[in-house]
C-alpha cells in the first residue's frame, strides 16, 4: 500500500498539481486552476497532436493485429522449426527503441538510405518516407508494426494453441474450411486473445514516443508531433512545465479511457 502511494499516487497527484500551475522555468509559478486545460482546448497544436496520436494508434494497431494474427496462425500450423521461428520473432521487440530508430534513419533516409536504392533496383521511384508529411505517420506505423507485430503473433499463437481442438474437428466435419473456418470459428474463439493484445499494444501506442523523437523529432513541420512529442518539447525544450504536464495528464486520461473501453469489449467477446 505504501509502495502504491509512493510510486503511483504521489507522482500522479504531483503531476495534477503541476498541471494546474503556470510554471515556466525562470518565472514564478502560480496557480491557474484549469487554465492550462482551457488553453489546451483552444490550442491548434494540441488538436493536431491529438489527431495524429489517434491516427498513429489506429493505423499501427490495425496493421499489428492483422499481421500479428496472420503470423500467429501461420506459426501454429508449422510442424517443424516453430521454436526457431519463435526466437526470430522475438528479436525485433527485444531491440531497444533507440536502435530501431537509428536503423530506420539509416535505411529510410531519402538521400543515403538503402530503402530507396532497393526500390530503384525494382524500378520504383524513390520515396520520402519519414521526410514527407504525407507519409510520415504511415512510415512510423510501419516501423512500429515491424517491431511489435511479432509480439501480437506470439500472443495469438499462445491463444490458438490453448483452444479446444474438438471445435475445429466439428467444424471440419461440418465442411468449414479456409476463410469460412477462420471467419466463423477461429476468429470468434480468438477474439478475447486478440482484444488482450489490442489492449497491450494500445497502451504502448498511445504513449509512443522514442522512435518518433529519434527519427523525426515531430517533423517534418508538425506532421508527427503527437501529444507525447508536443508535451516533451514544451516541457524540456521550452521549459513550459505546467502546460506540458497538463498535456500529459490529458494523454493519461485518453490511455485510461481506452483501456476501460477495451475491458468492456473484452467482456463482450468472452465465450
Amino acid at each position: 500500500m505504501l509502495f502504491a502511494v509512493a510510486m503511483i499516487v504521489f507522482p500522479f497527484g504531483y503531476a495534477l498539481v503541476l498541471s494546474m500551475q503556470d510554471f515556466v522555468f525562470g518565472h514564478d509559478a502560480h496557480f491557474v486552476g484549469f487554465g492550462n486545460y482551457v488553453r489546451m482546448a483552444g490550442d491548434p497544436q494540441v488538436r493536431l497532436a491529438l489527431v495524429l496520436t489517434v491516427e498513429l494508434w489506429l493505423v499501427s494497431l490495425a496493421l499489428q493485429l492483422v499481421i500479428g494474427t496472420w503470423l500467429g496462425l501461420l506459426l501454429a500450423r508449422m510442424r517443424r522449426g516453430r521454436g526457431l521461428a519463435r526466437a526470430v520473432l522475438v528479436s525485433p521487440f527485444m531491440l531497444p527503441p533507440v536502435v530501431v530508430g537509428m536503423m530506420a534513419i539509416v535505411i529510410l533516409d531519402p538521400s543515403f538510405g538503402i530503402a530507396n536504392w532497393l526500390l530503384g533496383l525494382m524500378g520504383i521511384a524513390p520515396r520520402l518516407f519519414l521526410a514527407s508529411p504525407d507519409t510520415v505517420i504511415l512510415t512510423l506505423a510501419g516501423i512500429d508494426t515491424w517491431q511489435w507485430a511479432p509480439f501480437v503473433a506470439l500472443i495469438v499463437l499462445g491463444g490458438y494453441l490453448s483452444l479446444p481442438s474438438d471445435v475445429f474437428e466439428a467444424a471440419a466435419i461440418d465442411g468449414a474450411a479456409g476463410w469460412r473456418r477462420f471467419r466463423y470459428v477461429t476468429l470468434p474463439l480468438l477474439a478475447p486473445t486478440i482484444v488482450t493484445a489490442a489492449v497491450l499494444r494500445s497502451v504502448d501506442l498511445l504513449r509512443f514516443f522514442d522512435i518518433i523523437y529519434i527519427t523525426t523529432a515531430g517533423g517534418p513541420g508538425y506532421a508527427s508531433t503527437t501529444l507525447n512529442i508536443l508535451a516533451y518539447r514544451r516541457g524540456f525544450e521550452f521549459f513550459d512545465i505546467g502546460y506540458a504536464t497538463a498535456t500529459m495528464v490529458a494523454l493519461a486520461a485518453v490511455v485510461f479511457g481506452t483501456t476501460l473501453a477495451f475491458a468492456r469489449i473484452r467482456r463482450a467477446v468472452r465465450w
Binding site: V24, F25, G26, H27, D109, P110, S111, F112, P126, L128, F129, L130, A131, S132, P133, Y213, T215, T216, A217, G219, P220, G221, Y222, Y232, R233, F236, E237, F238, F239, D240, I241
Partner: protein
Amino acid sequence: MLAAGAAPAGAQGFDWQSHKGTTINLLFNNHPWSQAMRDLTKEFTAKTGIETRMDIFNEEQFRARLATLMQAHSPDIDVYMSLASREGQVFDRSGWFADLQPLAKNAAATAPDLNLPDFSKGLMDSEMVNGKLVALPINMEGPLFYWRKDIFAKCGIPEPMAEEDLLPTAEKLKNCAAAHDMGMVTPWAGRGLRGILNYSLTAFINNLGGDFATPDGKPGLCQPKTLPGLELYAKLLKDYGPPGALNHTFTQVVELLGQGRIAMTYESSNEFANIVRFPNRASDLGVKPFPPGRASGINKPVVIGWGISVSAWSKQQEAAWMFLQWATSPEIEARLVDAGVAPPRTSVFNGPTFKAWTAQLPIRQAWADSLVTVARIGTSVYQSPTDRIPEARDIIGGAVQQIVLGQASAHDAACAADAELAKLQ
C-alpha cells in the same frame, strides 16, 4: 564590466591537490569538445587527485537531463556545459548557475595563471549574465560556408561572392550535375529541423538587410527586408537541397558533405574536423564565412561559444571550479585543436601550436581565418527579442518549414510567426 577578469590576489594557498580524493560529476552535451574531454580527464585526475564521472548526451537529451536535475536542486551535477546566449537568462533566473566571480577572486581556489582576460572579450561578455560570470568559454563556433572547389571548377562556376549569387549558382550546379552525370550531387544542403535551423538562417536574413526584430523591438520576420532571406533559405532547401531536408540537422549535412553528395552548404565550424576526416574532403573543399549581401554590404553571421558552468547546487564548487580552470587552460586548449575545437583563449589562437596546426593544410588555415572573421563580425542573437529563446527559434523554424512544404507563402508564414512570437515577449 568583467570584474571576473581580475586575477586573484596571489598564488598563496593555491594547490591543485587541495581537493584530492573528491569526485565531481560532469554533464556534457555531445560535442567535439566533450568527446575530446573523455580522453583527457584522466590527466585532470592525475594532476588534482579529483576523480570525475562524466555523462555525455545528445543535445536534446542533455538539456532534458540537466533541467530535471537542476530543477530538483540535485547536487548530482557539479559541472555542466551551457550556452549562455540561448538559455543564460532562464538558467540564471532559475538559480542554476554558481557565480564564478567569487571563486575567481579567491586566491586559495584559483590558479595564479588563470588569466581570464586572455579569453576572447566577446565570449567572456556573453558569459556574463545579470552581472554574474556563469561559465568559462570552451570554444568559439559559427556556421561557415563550405563548397566543393573541384565541382565548381569542373562546372566552370565561380564561388559565390555575395548572398545574391547563391540561387543562380545553385541553378548552374543543378544543370551542370545533370549534364555531367553527377546525379548523386545536389547543389545545396542545410539544416531543416525547425528548432535548430535559425543558426544557419540568421546570416541569410541579416546579410540581405533583414532583421528578426523591428526597430522598436517587436518580432520582425514579416518585414519586407526580412522576407527575402527567409524565402532564399527555404527555396535552396526546397529546390536545390537533398530530399528529406526538413528532417536534417548537422549530422545529415556533414554526412552528405563528407560523402561528396553536395556541392555547397552552410554548416557549423565545429564540424570541420568531422568533415575533413572523409577521404578527399581536406583537399577538395573550400571554406569561408557566409557571403555578404551585395546590395546591403552587410555580413552578420552567428557566432557563439559553449561554456562550462558550476552548478549552484554543487556541494563541491571549489573542486568543480578547479576542473573549469584545468579544462580551459592554454595547455588543454592547445591540445583540443586537433579535435577541431577553436580555442577561445587569444594566446592559444595566436600561439605556435595552433599556428603550426593550421599551417599543415590550406583548408585549416582557411577555417581559422574564417573563424577570426566570424568572431569579429558575428552576433549571438538569432531570434526575435524574448527570453523564451528555444520556443522563439522553434516558431521561426516552423515558418521556414511551412514555406518549404508549400503550406504557406513566405509572407503568410512569417506574419503568422510574428503573431506567435509576440506572445513570448
